[in-house]
Each structure stands twice: as C-alpha cells, then as structure tokens.
C-alpha cells in the first residue's frame, strides 16, 4: 500500500479531480446546473409557442430570451461550489487536504468556467435551433456565430463572478443574493443615474449577454454603446479582478 502512494501530491490537477467529484456528488450543484442547461431551450419553445416576440427582434434574440435567467443560475452554481463548503464545514477538510488556497480556487474556477461554457454553448445553440425551427420566417435570423461562443463565455464569467462572491461572502444565501444583485441591479437602477446609466448597466455580465444575443432590449442608451465582444472582455476583466481579491481574502483569513 505504502509504495502505491509514494508519488502522491496535492497540486492543481489533483485539486481539479477532487472538485469534480465534489461537484457531481451534491444535488444542489447538479440540479442548478441542469436548470441552467434547460432554461434557455424552454425559453425558446415558450416564446415561439406564445408568439410573444416583438417585430423588430431577431430569431437569436427571441430564442435566448431566458438566457438572462439561465445566466443567473450559472452565477448561483459558481457561488455554491464554495459556499456549500462553508455551510457544511468541508472547507476545512478541503484546505487541510490542499493548503494551496489559490490552487483550490483555481481548480474550482476552471471547473465552473469550463463546465458552464460547454453547457451554455450546447444549450443556447439548441435554443437557437429550436427558435429557428419554431418561429415564423418573417423574423430576421441575426448572427448566431460567433455570438454563441461569446454567450457561452458570458455564462462562464457569471459562474466565476458567483465563485468570487461566494468566496468573499462564505454564506450561500448571502452570496446568491449578492451575485444576483450584481447581475440585476445595474440594469434596474441604471435609469436612476441619468447619463451614467449606460456605464453602470454596461458593467453587468447581463449587459454583455444581451448584446451578444442581439436582442432589441440591448439598446446603446440602456447598456452602453460598447460592442458585444468588448463588453464581454470588460466584464471578464472585472470578474477576474474580483476573483483575485477573493483569493487574497481566502489566503489571509483563517478557515
């Protein structure tokens, strides 16, 4: 036995393997991830069935109406990967097994971002295909490619934002509330800021998502005139910065 484990080490690869086992062995993360995958497709079918699409909208924008909701779920998934550990006390087990706290967060981030990217890419592509098949031909199609890759990326960013907030807040309810607030409030309260609205609303991952889906809601005055891709890079950058702050906090704090 002893000889078998001589090569043992606790690095990034091992942390990632452990995170994957932990992720798929708890119902909350599995079901929320499943919901993230289902919601965009259900949204496309719903919009087509009710004929609720506005005339100036595109097939891709209409099909991905509920992508904003799915993106919130993605953020919740990200938050839960760490708040679940604080809630159950497994964070101490995890950190004792791998004292490299930055490594642990990096593994969680890789898992969350990779998984959500793939799931969102598949789910949103299916949603667009469903919308294309079900919606009347009078709507413009829009340009699904390469936008779908960016859309998937915005889900990954939302998940990472959730992870960063979860690491800082350490409590499921608090983290979920905070991260949904971060996604929603900019566009809700943006109008209060007058001319600054576009800057404030434009900083939310939701803004990047809306621009990428080419929905008619994503007007320049609502979410800023920054193009879809620069918008995505901007929120990705902000999220990366917050994640670094979160890693710093985790390394500094006692667990």
């Amino acid at each position: 036995m002893t000889n078998d484990i001589i090569g043992a080490r606790a690095g990034f690869r091992q942390a990632l393997a452990a995170e994957w086992i932990k992720f798929r062995s708890v119902r909350s993360t599995v079901w929320t991830t499943a919901a993230t995958a289902v919601v965009p497709i259900a949204g496309a079918v719903f919009v087509a069935a009710t004929g609720s699409l506005q005339d100036d909208d595109t097939v891709i924008g209409g099909s991905l109406t509920l992508a904003v909701v799915a993106q919130m779920l993605a953020a919740v998934v990200g938050a839960m990967t760490i708040t679940g550990e604080y809630g159950s006390g497994t964070i101490r087990t995890t950190i004792a097994a791998n004292p490299g706290r930055a490594t642990v967060v990096a593994a969680k981030a890789t898992l969350v971002a990779g998984l959500l990217y793939v799931i969102a890419l598949v789910s949103c592509s299916l949603a667009v295909l469903a919308g294309d098949a079900l919606l009347p031909a009078r709507y413009a199609t829009g340009e699904p490619l390469p936008a779908l890759f960016g859309i998937a990326g915005s889900f990954a960013v939302a998940g990472l934002l959730g992870l960063a907030v979860g690491t800082l807040v350490r409590h499921s309810a608090g983290a979920v509330t905070t991260v949904i607030g971060l996604l929603l409030l900019p566009s809700l309260f943006g109008p209060l800021f007058g001319d600054a609205r576009r800057w404030i609303a434009g900083l939310s991952p939701t803004a990047a998502l809306e621009k990428l889906t080419q929905t008619s809601d994503a007007t320049a005055e609502a979410v800023g005139s920054l193009g879809p891709w620069p918008s995505l890079w901007l929120v990705a950058g902000c999220t990366a910065a917050l994640l670094l702050v979160a890693v710093g906090a985790l390394r500094r704090r006692d667990v």
Partner: protein, 323 residues
C-alpha cells in the same frame, strides 16, 4: 493499512515553538511550546475553551499563528507535498457535506492528494463502515458512523501523523473502545498520534504521554506514568471526637494535616496503621480511619481550575466558544 508493512521513519514529530494565536484581544493560544513524538499516543488535555482546537487548527495551517511556529516532520504544514500522506486529521466539526455519500467524500479526498481510489475501500473496511452504508448520503449517519467516517478520512493517506480533536465525543462505549484500540495500534506501528479531550478519565486509558493546557498555556508536558505518580497523592482520612487533640499529636510527628471538606482530618505522609497506633497509644477514640487517593480527575480539575473560570469570559470572543 500498512499493518505488517515497513515501519516508517521516526522523524514525524509535531513541534510547536512559542505558538501564539490572538482572537479579539485575547490569547487563545499563548506561547505554547511542545513536542509530540512518534510511537506513542499523546493526549492533549484541557477544559473546553483552553485552546486545544485552535492549536490543532494552527498545526493544520487552517489558522495562521499570531506569533511562533509549528511544524510537522520539520516542515510547515503548507509546505507538505501531499499533506494527507503525512498528516491525517479529524476536527471537532467533522467537515462532511450531508448530501454526499461517505464513499464520495473519501474519493474526493483521495483524489485531492493523488491517492489511488481503491484506498477508499481499504479505509472503509478498516473503520468498519459497510459498503452499502458508505453509498448513502451521510446526512442520516449516526454520531458513531460519522465519527468512523471522520477517522476513515484521517487515515485515507496512510499518514505518519494523526491529529484528532475529541474523537470519542458522543460515542457509545463500544465506539470508544474501538477508537482506543485503534489509536494504540496506530501508535504501536510507529505513528505519531495526537488526540485531544477535555476528559481526564478518557486520557488515563488511552494516552502514554500528556500535554495539559489551560487558558492557552502549557500546564504539564509529561508521561502519563509520571503525571499519575506526581499528582495522584494519597492521604488518610481520620475522624475523632477529639479532633484538636488528635491534630496536635499528628503534627508533632511531622505529618501534614488538612481539614477534609466532609469533616475530619486529611493526613499526608503516613498511613492508616501508624495513625491508628498513635491514637491508641494516647487513648484517643477514632471513629473513622480511611486510606484515600485524590483521583486524577480531581488533580486535573485543580490544575485547570482557573482555566475553567476563563470559559465564561471567553464565550463573548473566542472562536473556540462558538464551535
């Protein structure tokens, strides 16, 4: 398990040097220095709130010391290449997600240190958790099963050092006996076994060596045998209708005389025979003459006496009190 396997190097000591941890203006651990050696069970004794759990978290690198340092096998915990291979731990709060099965919990732990997955079945077998139980969610586990899972997790990497915080807390007698036997056999294999308890009676039966702390400070660091010899003093209880006369006689012989809380005298430095003879020689009636020992429990309570008072004050601040 490596039972029958090669004995490991005897270099895996836990060494704390002037270890200090400050919480909210109070030292939960105060300049604590001690060494835990391999090949024996070292008991870590102190009343609740004395700083035992904090010290263990400091060893595991979960908390950062305010001052001083602690190493395992000469290295800081954070510098261990595969920590679970060197140190297995069971903390007060067990750290298992209720929604996960025991098997999955152990599999994730094994994966985190690159330990082969089949080791999971080995440790489940070792702690006596049946395979079908190990596949169910741990939420429904009894205290005893949870504790067995915690020990399985501690043993997953076949570690040289075991750190267990109150491992017998809440267990039934069968579970307690099992843990005792396991600790002793692990120590006999040459491992370093460090376990905490707030109960002297528990330590008396399990530990070979004792580290006693109170208010975060070291009170005693000694072998169990020495601790018993130096601290478990015997005396003789004697009761007489003429207590003052008796006391004068006893003190004239140079024996120590104290008032017993229940009335009568506690006499040190002699035995019942000598006292009985002395009383008869002077025509004094003796109504009771009993040889007595102060128990280890009493000694420990006396040692830790002022630490206990500390508990009420600590409830407001210390992390320990919250757990």
């Amino acid at each position: 398990m490596s039972a029958g396997g090669p004995l490991r190097s005897v270099g895996s000591m836990i060494e704390a040097t002037e270890l200090t941890k400050r919480y909210g203006g109070r030292n939960a651990v105060d300049k604590l220095s001690f060494t835990v050696r391999p090949g024996r069970v070292t008991g870590f004794l102190g009343p609740n709130g004395a700083g035992k759990s904090t010290t263990m978290r400091l060893i595991l690198g979960l908390d950062t010391p305010t001052a001083g340092r602690v190493t395992v096998g000469g290295k800081r915990y954070a510098d261990l290449r595969a920590p679970l291979r060197t140190v297995g731990s069971l903390l007060d709060a067990k750290g298992v997600h209720g929604g996960r099965s025991a098997h999955q919990h152990l599999a994730a732990l094994a994966a985190s240190n690159g330990i082969p997955g089949r080791r999971v079945d080995d440790v489940l077998d070792l702690v006596g958790l049946p395979a079908d139980t190990a596949r169910t969610r741990t939420k429904g586990f009894s205290l005893g099963m949870g504790q067995r899972l915690g020990i399985a997790a501690a043993l997953i990497g076949d570690p040289e050092v075991l750190i267990l915080d109150e491992p017998v807390n809440g267990l039934d007698t069968e579970g307690i006996r099992w843990i005792r036997g396991l600790m002793k056999s692990l120590a006999a294999q040459g491992r370093t076994v460090f376990l905490s308890s707030h109960l002297m009676s528990e330590m008396e039966l399990t530990a070979d060596h004792l580290i006693v702390i109170g208010r975060g400070r070291l009170i005693a660091d000694t072998t169990m045998r020495d601790f018993i010899r130096t601290n478990s003093r015997s005396h003789t209880l004697v009761r007489s209708p003429e207590p003052e006369k008796l006391r004068a006689l006893l003190e004239a012989r140079g024996w120590g005389v104290r008032l017993d809380p229940g009335g009568g005298w506690r006499v040190d430095g002699t035995d019942a025979t000598a006292i009985g003879d002395l009383a008869r020689d002077h025509g004094l009636a003796v109504h009771e003459l009993t040889p007595a020992h102060s128990t280890l429990e009493e000694v420990y309570t006396a040692l830790a006496g002022d630490s206990a008072e500390y508990r009420a004050g600590e409830a407001a601040s210390g992390k320990e009190a919250v757990r």
